[in-house]
């Protein structure tokens, strides 16, 4: 008999035991290990994917921030440049203004100095000329300068045109105070009388006349009444000399701007 039934039963049981053993010892652990590994690989892949996505996101964020930073920097730089330009312009304007002021002050100071010098020179010249004239007259004609001046003033009154006389007369009619005769030197009583007579005679002037000494009228006499003035001064002859001195000073000081030397010696009439 090829089939032994006990062996058949025993082998069937053996096989079932083996199935149980294999299930427990082989298939389950192996399948579990494979599943775990697959899960792990999947998890790692997912992790890598998420990390990649995260990296991508961070890269985008970084790029965005970088661009934003560049933009801000450019804006700040541009603003700073504008501010610097404005500041530069302001400072330049300020410096220019200050420089203009300085120059103006300088010019003003120069002009003041020039004026002072010019006045001084004129005064000295007049004094010298006057002294020279006085001495020359005394030596040559044995005549006093002051007396001659008074004479000249009276002559001036006499040679006035009728029209001028009328104008002066009408002006003196509405006088409000005494007339004043101012001279650079003390007039003698004779001279005062001569002048008074001449005035009363020529101009029909009947009010009181006061005599005053004014040293600034170098070698001159002036008659003032009611705003009208009649004067003679040696200064009139010195105008050309004064002009020559002014030109000389101009070339010496050479002021950049400003007015030239003004008329330093006022002389009316004549």
């Amino acid at each position: 008999m090829l089939i032994d039934w006990f062996t058949v039963i025993a082998q069937a049981i053996n096989f079932l035991i083996l199935v149980w053993l294999m299930k427990r010892l082989l298939y389950k652990p192996i399948l579990h290990a494979i599943d775990a590994r697959e899960k792990r690989v999947a998890a790692e892949l997912a992790d890598a994917g998420s990390k990649k996505a995260e990296a991508q996101r961070e890269r985008d964020e970084f790029r965005r921030k970088n661009e934003e930073f560049d933009r801000q920097r450019a804006a700040l730089l541009s603003k700073a440049i504008d501010e610097v330009k404005a500041e530069r312009r302001r400072l330049l304007d300020e410096a220019r203004k200050e420089s203009d002021n300085l120059r103006a002050r300088h010019i003003s100071a120069l002009q003041g100095e020039y004026q002072g010098l010019s006045d001084e020179i004129t005064r000295r010249i007049l004094e010298e000329v006057l002294a020279t004239a006085r001495k020359t007259l005394a030596d040559l004609a044995a005549t006093d300068l002051e007396e001659q001046i008074a004479m000249v003033f009276i002559n001036r009154l006499r040679v006035l045109s009728d029209e001028e006389k009328e104008r002066l007369k009408s002006a003196f009619k509405t006088r409000s105070g005494p007339a004043v005769v101012r001279s650079a030197f003390e007039l003698t009583a004779t001279q005062q009388n001569a002048i008074e007579l001449a005035v009363r005679e020529i101009l029909a002037f009947d009010a009181g006349i006061m005599f005053e000494t004014a040293p600034e009228l170098i070698g001159g006499i002036e008659f003032t009444a009611n705003g009208q003035k009649l004067a003679w001064s040696i200064a009139d002859y010195l105008k050309s000399l004064d002009k020559g001195v002014g030109d000389l000073l101009k070339t010496r000081y050479v002021p950049e701007t400003g007015t030239g030397p003004g008329q330093t010696t006022e002389a009316n009439g004549g």
């Binding site: 096989f15 299930k23 290990a33 792990r40």
Partner: protein, 230 residues
Amino acid sequence: MRLSPDDIILWRHGFFKLNATIVITWALMLVMAAGSRIITRNLSTDLKRSRWQNLLEIVVTAIVKQIKEVGLDQSERYLGFLGTLFLFIALASLCTVIPGYEPPTGSLSTTAALAICVFVAVPLFGIEEQGLGGYLKSYAEPTLIMLPFNVISEISRTLALAIRLFGNMMSGAMIIGILITITPFLFPIVMTALGLLTGMVQAYIFSVLATVYIAAATQIRNQGTGPLAH
């Protein structure tokens, strides 16, 4: 002449006896269980793993894949039964290279036991999948007239399973035994190598047929609606 290791009786007590088939089967079981235990004791879930673990993973995944290819989708459910069937028969055949070894599958009692296990497992899996009524109904398909033929087919294929494996294994051992008496050198070695191939083929055939039977028992109902119906 001894045809089966059943005849080598080591111990007997009435109906109970301990013959070479049982003892060798125990030895194989021990080897398989101990080997699995040793290898799976330190299983790695990491990407790096031992060669033995790799080997077992290849074997197990190959079996799973094979079961799936035959048509059983839930292959893990049948893996215990079908995989063990294949591994046991394969190991029993591979060990024929060991001198003095008698394959337990060379015993008709063993092959019958395995065939009976398949014979029992098929309806069990079928009932589990389709329910008792559904499974029994499958015997009357396509018509009631086919019922006896289906039953006969069930029994005959179980017999065929048992006899085919027994015949092949026994004949391999017999041929080698005969050849050793005729040409003691070289030729028996060639035949042993051939026997290894035959053994592997038989293990494959046995387990694939069992798979096909189980698949047939569990998937009859689906055939009407599945793509195979057209």
